[in-house]
Amino acid sequence: MASIAAAQVQEVRSITRIERIGAHSHIRGLGLDDSLEPRAVSQGMVGQKMARKAAGVILQMIREGKIAGRAVLLAGQPGTGKTAIAMGLAQALGPDTPFTSMAGSEIFSLEMSKTEALTQAIRKSIGIRIKEESEIIEGEVVEVVVERAAGGGGARVGRLTLKTTDMETNYDMGAKMIDSLLKEKVQAGDVITIDKATGKINKLGRSFARARDYDATGQQARFVQCPEGELQKRKEVVHTVTLHEIDVINSRTHGFLALFSGDTGEIKSEIREQINSKVAEWREEGKAEMIPGVLFIDEAHMLDIECFSYLNRALESETAPVVIMATNRGITRIRGTNYRSPHGIPLDLLDRMIIVPTSPYSHQELREILNIRCEEEDCQMSSDALTVLTRVATETSLRYAIQLITTASLVAKRRKATEVSMEDVKKVYSLFLDEHRSEQFLKEYQDEFMFNDGSGDAPQLMEVSQ
C-alpha cells in the first residue's frame, strides 16, 4: 500500500517539474520584512532598496483598502527591475486581491475602443467578495491517476476517486484540474474540498485512517475525520469576483461563456450602471465587500493622450483601483500630440501620481541576480564563469547576460560537463551578438545589405572613422 502511494508521489513530482520558466518567474514577493524594510536578497529580489521600500508603502496602502484611485509611476532605465517590482507586489498581495497586468499597447484593438479596453481593465482590477451558495465536493482522496494520451504531446486525462464514510465516486478531470491538483500536491489519504463552480481546491488535512503512514506525512500534517454522507454538498462559500466578470455575466444572453471565449466586445454603459447600483446595494446590506485591486500598465508611454485624459477622470471615481504604471522613457513626445513631456505622460496626470524611480544595479547586485536566474533555470555555473557573466552584464545589459545563461548551459551540456565554465560563456558570447556589437557589425557591412545604394551618410562616416 505504502509503496503504491510512494510510486504515485514519484509520478506526480516528475510532472510538476515541467513548468515553463518566465523572465520573472524567480520573483516570489517584494522581499520585505514585517516592518516593510527591504532585505538585501529575498524572495528573488535584489537591490533596488528605495524602490522596494516605496512599493512596501504602496502595498500597505492597498491592503488597507481605503484609498481608491491613486496612481504610481515606476520610472527607470531598461532592465532595472520595474516589472519585477510590480510582479513582486502582485505576489505579496496574495491571490485574493485582483491584480491585472497589461502592456500599454494592448488597448489598441480593432474590436474595442481604447476607452472601453481601459474601462474593462479597470473593472477587472476591482474585486467583490460575496457569499454565494455553491456545489462543493468534499471527501477523502482514494486515488489520483494522471495519464498522458499516447504519442507524447497528447492531452492529459486524469481520474480522481473520492470517498466519504458512506460512498465512493470516480471523477474525470481535465488538464486544468490536474494542474491544480498537482500544484496542491494532493495525494491519496488527503481530505479535500473542490468548489465545482470555480474548481478551487482546499486541502483540509490528512485522514485519520492514514495516521500510520509516517513516511508519507510531513511534520505539520493535520489529521481530520473522513467526511460523512454524500460527497456533493451545497454550501455557502465566499467568492471573489471582479466587476468585469459580473458585467460579462449580465451583458449577454449566453452569459459567462463569453468570459472564456474571450469575445466580450463592448459592454453597454447602462449595464455597468445597473451593476454599480446593485453592488452598492449589496454593500449597504452587508452582503458584499469591495476589494480595490491593482491595475498595472507596463510601457505606459505607449498610451496616447486620449487614454491619459480618460485615466485622469477615471481615477477620481470612488471605485477606482490603484493604478501602477511603468515606463523606461525620459522626456519624450506624448503619443497623439506634438508636445514633449517627462516620461511621455502629460503633466496633469504626472501631478496626480507618486513617482518611484529605479536606478541601475551595482556590480554586486548584478552578480546576485544572475546567480538567482542560474538557480531558476537549473544551471550550475562556476564562480569564474559567473564573474565573466557579471562583467558582460555591466558592459552590455542585464537582459543579454540572462540570455547567455541557458545558452551557455546548453553548450556545457554538449561537452558533457555538469558545470558551466568560463569558456562556455565566452563561446556563447562570441556566438550571439549583443545589441551594441550588432550595431557595430551593421555599420561595418552596411554597404552589402539590401536596399543600400551606397550614397547614404554612413559610408562617409565609416571613412571618417577609418
Binding site: 454565494e132 474525470d172 484540474m177 455575466i249 472564456f260
Partner: protein, 234 residues
Amino acid sequence: MKRNCLIEDFEGLDSIQKRIKVSLTFPIMFKNTIWYRSLLDAEKSCLKEDKLKKIHYKFQDDKEMVEEYNADTQVLLRRAWKVKGKLGGDGKWDVEIGDPIPDATPHIEGAGADIMESKDQPILTRRNTRINLEWRIRNLPYPIETYSVSANNEERCIIIRTTNKKYFKRLQVPELDRLNLPLEQANIQCTHSFNTLIITYKKPQQLLEMDKEWYQELSKVKPIKDIPSDCKTQ
C-alpha cells in the same frame, strides 16, 4: 347526576381532541396549502405540441417553472425550475422530474471546474407515473441485498445506504413537502434490474386528488395558437 355530567363533559372534551387529531392526520385539504395557492396565483402560459402540453409558470416571487404533461395519459413528464445565480445572468434549468435537459452549449475548456463524475458513475433521474413517485438510479451494479432504503421524517428525505459503502444518497420528496404530508416507510418499494435501482413511493390519496384537480384546472389555460419558432429555414 352531577358526577354523570362531569363525565359527560370529559367525554365531550376527549372527542373534540380526537376530532382535532383527525383533522391533522387527514390534513388540511391540499387546496389550502401555500403551494396550491401559489400555483393558482402564478402567471401561466400553455403550449401544445402534438401530445405534449407544456405549461410555463411565473410565480409572484419571480421564480419560473415549466411542466410538461402527456396530454393522453395526463402524467407529468417533466418539471424544471429556473435557477438564477446571485450575480445575475440567464440562469439554468434545474430538472426536478423527468430526464435532464441535455446541455446545448458545448463544453468549453476553462469554463468552470474541469471536473465531473465519470460516465460509469450512478446517475439519478426522477420519472413519475400516475400512481407512483419514482427514482431511477442507473449504473448501480450491486445486488438488491446491498441497499437499504429508509424514510426519514426528521430530515424529510428518503435515505439510500449501501452495505459496501459505495453509494449514499438523500432523496428529497418535494411533492410531499409541499402538501405537508409525512413520509411513510410502507409506501416505499424498490426493485433492481439491469444495473438500475428503482425506488417507488406510492402517491398518497391527497396527492392523487391534487394531481387530478390541477390537471382540470390547467385546461382553463388556453394554449398559445402561433408557436414562436426559431427555425424558419425549412
